[in-house]
């Protein structure tokens, strides 16, 4: 479609967080398994919904739309709200 309809989904997914989060965390979080504290759904961090058409990134749970995290980078300052992250499980070396 050259002219996207209003209903065409435009969100990205958690894969797109790999770069922005690498500014903060030493390990890659996109492969982590997350259990949502609100709806209980379990899945890869990469499966989160990422909305980038705003000043920062807003990341929502694919199960219940809870805001999982928000990230804004402006003028050398990074704001990171991890309020809805839930429980993460990741492999470490």
């Amino acid at each position: 479609m050259t002219t996207p309809s209003v209903s065409e989904p435009s969100h990205l997914d958690g894969n797109a967080l790999a770069g922005p989060l690498s500014e903060v965390f030493r390990v890659d979080l996109t492969g982590a398994t997350r259990r949502c504290a609100v709806c209980g759904i379990t899945g890869a961090f990469a499966e989160l919904r990422v909305y980038a058409e705003c000043p920062g990134l807003v990341v929502r749970c694919p199960g219940c739309d809870t805001v999982v995290l928000r990230l804004v980078h402006e003028g050398g300052v990074l704001w990171l709200d991890l309020g809805g992250t839930g429980c993460l499980r990741l492999r470490v070396k």
Binding site: H11, L12, N15, A18, G19, S22, D28, T30, F45
Partner: protein
């Protein structure tokens, strides 16, 4: 470390379609990467304004040379420069390799179903090329949905039975305009085609789906409907079908 921006120099470029091209970048001390990973590219204007976008790596690294294929997005801030302006010797900044989930490792013997929508072919091509380079034996089935022959990436290489591509089957699904001689009418990739040209759920393949968000949602739903384990379906979304600006 992935979080660090590093200088990359354009070493070569080649057109893939009238609106997409592959850039070969030289990145000193590149640590290597996995098939499916991406890089972030950052451009800085003379006034200090910066813009960054993510691009999938299109091939395994050769020494400190890496490849990305970029689709030009109308009114984009980054892609028009990369597709139409950047030339050999120009420098950009990149960060990566990035992503540890949407990846395929050549030592994984599980069969693989790849489903690409448009520019979503890029990270899947990296998997095909990595498989070839490693002479890996995992069975690969690639379903590539594209609008027209003019928009076909890697056309001289993909589906022409390169050495090392035994066990790779490629199905092209043209959605708007098919080349002469193709009997399938132009239409969306159908569930029945994913069934026929993919692999049965019984063989427990890993499924990689990449493309515009709407395409990925419907293809992943089709795989689930066919009985594939959702935990074996890995997805990567590019955003709206026009691409990310």
């Amino acid at each position: 470390m992935a979080g660090r921006w590093r200088a990359a120099t354009v070493a070569a470029h080649r057109p893939e379609t009238p609106t997409a091209r592959t850039l070969v970048l030289r990145v000193p001390d590149w640590p290597g990467h996995l098939a499916g990973q991406h890089v972030d590219v950052r451009l800085t204007a003379e006034d200090g304004y910066t813009a960054q976008r993510s691009y999938s790596l299109a091939a395994p690294a050769v020494g400190d040379l890496i490849e990305v294929t970029v689709q030009r997005v109308p009114d984009g801030e980054v892609s028009p420069y990369l597709v139409e302006v950047a030339d050999v010797g120009d420098q950009i900044e990149i960060r990566g390799p990035l992503g540890g989930w949407f990846v395929w490792r050549p030592d994984d013997p599980a069969p693989v179903v790849l489903v690409a929508g448009g520019a979503g072919i890029v990270p899947l091509m990296s998997m095909v090329r990595t498989r070839r380079m490693a002479r890996a034996k995992a069975l690969f089935r690639l379903l590539y949905s594209l609008r027209s022959p003019a928009e076909r990436y890697y056309s001289t290489e993909l589906g022409s039975h390169q050495a090392g591509d035994g066990g790779l089957d490629v199905f092209l699904a043209y959605t708007r305009e098919a080349p002469e001689g193709v009997t399938r009418p132009p239409q969306r990739l159908a569930l029945s085609e994913i069934n026929t040209h993919g692999l049965p759920p019984d063989s427990a393949p890993t499924c990689f789906v990449c493309g515009p968000t709407g395409f990925v949602e419907s293809a992943a739903n089709a795989l689930v409907a066919l009985g594939h384990d959702p935990r074996r379906i890995k997805t990567e979304r590019f955003g709206p079908s026009g691409g990310r600006p």
